[in-house]
């Protein structure tokens, strides 16, 4: 009994760590740059496939490919914000119009990135074995790679939060999230901050992709699945609240793991049910203001 409870809880935390950093990235992009990035999952897929290619072709350690994936997706995100979304933002008559049109543009990005990936890597499932041995935690056994992923996810999440709270640039980001115009008047280079945020959001997704590729099979159309989970977590924690997303990720991971230990085919339905209930009852989310 105790082992099965422990099993459920740790499984939930392991999933939750991944959900947390994916959702933090999405929330950063929406909370500051005001782009609900439907193509967020594609950055996860890119991270996963770059790692897989590095490992299977050159034998590069997946954890080392963090330093390759990070900059690559950051540059893609940064350029996208500077070109595509900036031109949409300056042209949009209102905030709402920009949110609508930028979301639709990310639909286009989703199709573009996904199909370029299909052309390069084809549609097959891929997986590689890295750190794939069991670790016994008080009677419940877990794969080592998933524990590594959790540890990295937690470190990244907390480091990013400290960056937001303490660093000068982090303060600029929070100011831009609250009121871009006033932040601009106070000397914050708003275009740079927005691009940085979009890039950092993409980095979160890319790194999550690295960890996902270590633990689960990957395929080019996997992005949408993770995007949906990220959206649920973001709504759960509150749109615009970074700590909310971090905690929300773990909450959703736990819920998923509890429901699937009882009725596996209901896990996804449970996610959506909670999600829709939340939207109706408290659309601001748990930590939203």
């Amino acid at each position: 009994m105790l082992v099965s409870v422990l099993n459920t809880v740790i499984n939930g935390l392991l999933l939750g760590g991944l959900y947390a950093i994916i959702a933090m990235g999405l929330n950063l992009q929406y909370g500051v740059a005001r782009v609900l990035n439907i193509a967020h999952g594609e950055f996860i897929m890119l991270g996963a496939f770059i790692t897989w290619t590095m490992y299977s072709m050159f034998g590069i350690n997946p954890l080392l490919s963090i330093v390759i994936v990070g900059p690559v997706v950051f540059i893609i995100g940064f350029i996208l914000q500077r070109t595509l979304f900036t031109s949409l933002r300056t042209r949009a008559p209102s905030q709402g119009a920009f949110e609508g049109s930028s979301m639709l543009a990310t639909f286009g990005l989703l199709f573009i990135i996904q199909n370029v990936a299909l052309l390069i890597w084809h549609g097959d499932m891929r997986a590689y074995s890295y750190y794939n041995f069991g670790i016994n935690l008080w009677g419940a056994v877990f794969a080592a790679n998933r524990l590594v992923a959790l540890a990295f996810a937690v470190v990244i999440g907390i480091a990013f939060y400290i960056f937001l709270v303490r660093a000068r640039l982090g303060k600029a980001i929070r100011a831009a999230a609250q009121d871009p115009t006033t932040a601009g008047l106070m000397g914050v280079n708003i275009n740079l901050v927005l691009a940085l945020c979009f890039g950092l959001g993409a980095v979160m997704a890319g790194l999550a992709g690295v960890f996902i590729s270590m633990c689960f099979p990957i395929y080019p159309v996997m992005g949408l699945e993770y995007l949906i989970i990220a959206i649920i977590v973001v709504v759960l924690g509150g749109l615009g609240s970074i700590p909310g997303s971090f905690i929300g990720g773990f909450i959703l991971g736990l819920i998923g793991s509890i429901v699937s230990s009882w009725q596996p085919s209901l896990a996804l339905a449970a996610y959506y049910f909670i999600f829709m209930l939340l939207l109706v009852v408290r659309p601001k989310g748990i930590f939203g203001k």
């Binding site: 609508g100 639909f107 286009g108 573009i112 199909n115 009725q263 996804l268």
Partner: protein
């Protein structure tokens, strides 16, 4: 030249053209191949989804991604009722079930605006899909359902009928005070409520009517597929494609979504079997380019040219 412009400006001329086109379409199975009937059935299906999506989301600005949900509900209604009911009542039942679900969802989401509404409607597709999957796995113990097949020409005429009813409904709603009310909601919801528009009723009802046509289209298309399961019926692509098609065509005019859907559905049928990756890739690129450079769609371009010509005329008077 002026005579031509005067004819083009005449509403009656466009009614006659539409009628001729309709007669040509309706008699299509009599003189053309079975393949073109099937092709045009698929195109009309996309037109119905796109036009009914644009009917609600165009004027109000609420971007709904629930199209696949209502379409899938129609498909499953046909799968359940297809054997008990004759074809037409089953199709109408598909529409009605979607209509009722849309009313309930609409009433639940009254408070949600903007991005929240969009993600809620998208969640609806997935929620219904997974509940059905759970139901099929644990309760009935089956996966998917078989559907009674219909003649291709019968399907064609039914779907053409749905299309005609949809276009007429759309036309009259746009011209009525409800159409104006919907547009005023899109411009400024609070202001229109202050002006005496029953915002909730108008919104929910328009959502329901658009869902009715999506459901009816799903019900009739189901008879072409013989076998459906929740993954086929609730494919999220059916939520995305109408949005893309409507943007491509332009939502400012009644015929914009029709043009966008016809163009994309035709190229999809031609290209998808041979080059699926390239097709979706160009799809994405075109979508991004249109949102950035031509947000009013193809129709917006035509209208700009048209207005330039007419503007010249007005200046002379």
């Amino acid at each position: 030249m002026d005579i031509i412009y005067n004819i083009l400006k005449n509403t009656r001329f466009w009614w006659i053209i539409s009628l001729i086109l309709l007669v040509l379409l309706a008699t299509l199975p009599l003189y053309s191949s079975a393949y073109s009937v099937i092709l045009i059935t698929a195109i009309i299906m996309y037109v119905i989804l796109t036009v009914s999506w644009a009917m609600f989301s165009g004027p109000t600005g609420y971007i709904s991604l629930a199209t696949a949900a209502f379409f899938g509900v129609g498909i499953y209604t046909m799968a359940v009722l297809g054997e008990q009911l004759p074809l037409l009542p089953a199709v109408i039942a598909g529409g009605l079930v979607s209509f009722i679900i849309a009313l309930i969802v609409g009433a639940m989401t009254l408070r949600l605006r903007g991005i929240y509404f969009t993600i809620f409607t998208f969640g609806l597709v997935e929620l219904i899909k997974h509940l059905l999957l759970y139901w099929e796995v644990t309760v009935t113990g089956t996966r998917g359902r078989f559907i009674v097949l219909e003649e291709n020409t019968t399907i064609f005429w039914v779907i053409l009928g749905i299309f005609v009813v949809l276009m007429l409904t759309n036309y009259f709603i746009r011209r009525s005070k409800y159409g104006l009310a919907l547009r005023s909601i899109g411009e400024n919801e609070e202001a229109s409520a202050h002006l005496g528009v029953n915002v909730n009723l108008v919104k929910v009802f328009a959502f329901g009517i658009s869902a009715f046509f999506m459901g009816a289209a799903g019900a009739i298309m189901a008879t072409r597929w013989t076998y459906v399961d929740p993954y086929v019926a609730f494919n999220p692509l059916f939520s995305f494609l109408p949005v893309l098609m409507a943007i491509f065509g332009g939502m400012g005019q009644i015929y914009g979504p029709v043009i966008g859907a016809v163009f994309f559905a035709y190229t999809e049928e031609k290209l998808l079997t041979n080059f699926p990756e390239y097709f979706m890739l160009t799809f994405g690129i075109i979508l991004v380019l249109f949102i950035v450079y031509l947000p009013d769609g193809l129709v917006g371009v035509v209208q700009r040219l048209w207005r330039r010509r007419l503007g010249g005329q007005n200046a002379n008077t």
